[in-house]
């Protein structure tokens, strides 16, 4: 239907995927462990940071954004920035109410 498959495709090895999977498992372990430590206002920040790194690994490697054309990365960033703006604007209500 289109010439989409004519492009070069990056193929990662199984070993590489296993390493990413182990990294994700480690980060999950971290999230759970950290929840037992009282870090006051940094608790949420830490959990969100770890979750962001995990999502980043999935998107970059499992979803192949790292090896794809830059336009897909740009599209992804557009949606992420849009969601960030949603959150910031919503907090213009919650932060001052």
């Amino acid at each position: 239907m289109s010439g989409a498959h004519a492009e070069e495709e990056h193929i990662s090895s199984y070993g590489f995927y296993v390493k990413i999977w182990l990294a994700l498992l480690f980060l999950t372990f971290m999230t759970v462990s950290v929840s037992y430590v009282d870090m006051k206002k940094f608790t949420l920040f830490t959990a969100m940071l770890v979750a962001t790194v995990k999502a980043g690994l999935v998107v970059l490697f499992f979803m192949h954004i790292r090896f794809d054309k830059p336009i897909f990365g740009v599209m992804l960033m557009v949606t992420l920035i849009e969601y960030l703006i949603f959150i910031v604007l919503t907090f213009s209500d919650y932060a001052y109410r």
Binding site: S2, T79, L89, T90, D93, Y94
Partner: protein, 542 residues
């Protein structure tokens, strides 16, 4: 491509296959467009009937029409009002133009044979119909009475069934996401090699921008539904303040989707306007780049103004000021479009064929709808006008008077292409003028009544508003009559109309370079050199 390119093909997408299964399993974007048209028509007729009942009830100040079946005073009115809103918003006006005309025209306009994911396109139609059936099914359960916005805490405490219609909206949302995804991908991957981004017709640009809004905003309403379920089923505090939730959060999430949904409705309509005005003025569209970019700007800015629906909901003052300020920005790209359309007509060779007449009505109605939107966007004025009939008039001017009338204009514009037939233009003109009169008679009095304090969503009212409501109800009868005339004319033409030429309006975009109706794969032979979307030949088209 067929080798019989010289002769006009007798086989077209409509008669290439026959039998009900050929339609129910089709992946042809044109057939799916027609299937959407029929199913939308059924839901639209249903919602118009609901509106007819509502206006009939409002003819007098007392509740005296919707009292059958032993219903409590006003209860039946609330339920009919809710169904009218749900069906009109989720099943007609949001999917309307992209599903019908986007499906039919987009691939042809960019010189493609189909959309990028034809099977997903069919799945999208099934999601739409399934969601629609759920909405209708909710009537059997008594019907919801929350209004189409499902605000908590009322929606979680009302005795009427809310989950089925919410589920309906959820399923239709899938249809919307899949269609948006399909269109964005199609524009990126299947554009003809000779069609650069800035050679694309503006309708395609608007569908592209709409596709992005569908993809980004629609999942939010799905998330909202899941949150409601999590609270209801698992007791996780999200919206209920008794267990630590916040009802205003519901409104935030709801409008994060539902305000961009307004732009899902209006952006494709604006694209159609650009096509029709250029064709019937026989002039290159004025400010092509600005119109294209303004579609993207409306999509982007329109996503950031949702909380202007919530100025009286108890939000922080800072947020109210920010959202009021942002709201005014949407007026800029909207005005860019209106000025460019007017400038296109200037010194053009204007023909007042039905699609053009409908489009000119749109410009007037949209301007009134847009300007009254600025009244409502102004924080101080909104405190007075919030939840009054003024708001009802405003959004009907934008949704029905603008997006709706352009749906009718698009039907008249692409009818010869879709059916290969011509309709009676005199009847179409009469229907259009009657619609314009009926529409304004129905909704303009509500601006005044609302300004004077008539609240929305009430089945009974004080006698001082009776004149406005009577005027409005009589207007609604004129409007319904005009629509019956309009659809009757088109249905008659589809069966017994004269045969249309391939390009009856003298359009320049690619769909006018193929036969009417088009062959299954859209073109027997694509023009060697793809013409500019608005390059009109000098000879006069009869």
């Amino acid at each position: 491509m067929s080798e019989a390119a010289v002769d006009k093909p007798k086989v077209n997408y409509y008669n290439a296959k026959s039998g009900i299964m050929s339609w129910l399993t089709t992946t042809d974007h044109k057939r799916l467009g027609i299937m959407y048209l029929y199913s939308l028509g059924v839901f639209f007729a249903f919602a118009v009937f609901m509106a007819f009942l509502l206006r009939l009830e409002l003819f007098t100040p007392e509740i005296d029409v919707l009292t059958f079946g032993g219903a409590q005073a006003g209860d039946l009115y609330n339920r009919i009002l809710t169904l009218h809103g749900i069906v009109m918003v989720f099943l007609f006006i949001v999917p309307g133009l992209p599903a019908v005309f986007g499906n039919f025209c987009l691939p042809i306009m960019i010189g493609a044979e189909d959309v990028f994911f034809p099977r997903i396109n069919l799945l999208s139609w099934y999601c739409y119909v399934l969601g629609g059936l759920f909405a209708i099914f909710s009537i059997a359960l008594g019907g919801p009475d929350t209004g189409w916005t499902f605000y908590v805490p009322y929606s979680t405490t009302t005795g009427h069934n809310v989950y089925v219609p919410v589920l309906a909206a959820f399923i239709v949302g899938w249809s919307s996401i899949l269609t948006g995804l399909n269109f964005v991908t199609t524009v990126h991957r299947l554009r003809n090699k000779n069609m650069s981004w800035f050679k694309m017709p503006l309708f395609v640009w608007s569908l592209y921008a709409t596709g992005w809004v569908q993809i980004i905003a629609t999942p939010v309403i799905g998330i909202l539904l899941l949150l409601v379920m999590m609270e209801k089923v698992f007791g996780i505090p999200v919206f209920d303040p008794r267990i630590g939730g916040d009802p205003v959060l519901f409104e935030h999430i709801f409008w994060i989707y539902s305000h961009p949904a307004v732009y899902i409705m209006i952006l494709p309509a604006m694209g159609v306007v650009s096509e029709i005005i250029a064709t019937f003025s026989r002039k290159t569209i004025f400010g092509y780049h600005f119109i294209a970019y303004s579609s993207i700007a409306i999509a982007a800015i329109g996503s950031l103004v949702w909380a202007h629906h919530m100025f009286t909901s108890g939000m922080a003052n800072e947020a109210r000021v920010i959202f009021s300020f942002l709201t005014f920005f949407v007026a800029v790209p909207s005005a860019v479009k209106v000025f460019n359309w007017i400038a296109t007509m200037y010194k053009g060779s204007i023909r007042l064929s039905p699609p053009m007449v409908y489009t000119m009505m749109f410009i007037l109605i949209f301007s009134i709808g847009g300007f009254t939107g600025l009244h409502l966007g102004a924080l101080s004025v909104d405190i007075h006008l919030h939840d009054t009939a003024f708001v009802v008039a405003h959004f009907h001017y934008v949704m029905f008077g603008s997006a709706g009338i352009i749906f009718f204009a698009a039907m008249h514009y692409w009818f010869p292409k879709m059916s290969g037939k011509l309709y009676n233009e005199v009847v179409a003109h009469i229907a259009g003028v009657l619609f314009f009169i009926g529409f304004n008679a129905t909704y303009f009095p509500l601006f005044i009544a609302g300004y004077l304090g008539m609240p929305r969503r009430y089945a009974s009212y004080l006698p001082e508003y009776e004149f406005y409501h009577k005027f409005s109800t009589i207007g609604s009868w004129v409007m319904i009559f005009s629509m019956l005339l309009m659809f009757g004319n088109l249905i008659y033409a589809a069966r017994k109309g004269k045969k249309s030429s391939d390009n009856p309006w003298g359009g320049a975009t690619l769909e006018w370079h193929t036969s009417s109706p088009p062959p299954t794969l859209n073109f027997d032979k694509l023009p060697d050199d793809i013409p500019g979307s608005y390059d009109y030949p000098l000879e006069v088209v009869k």
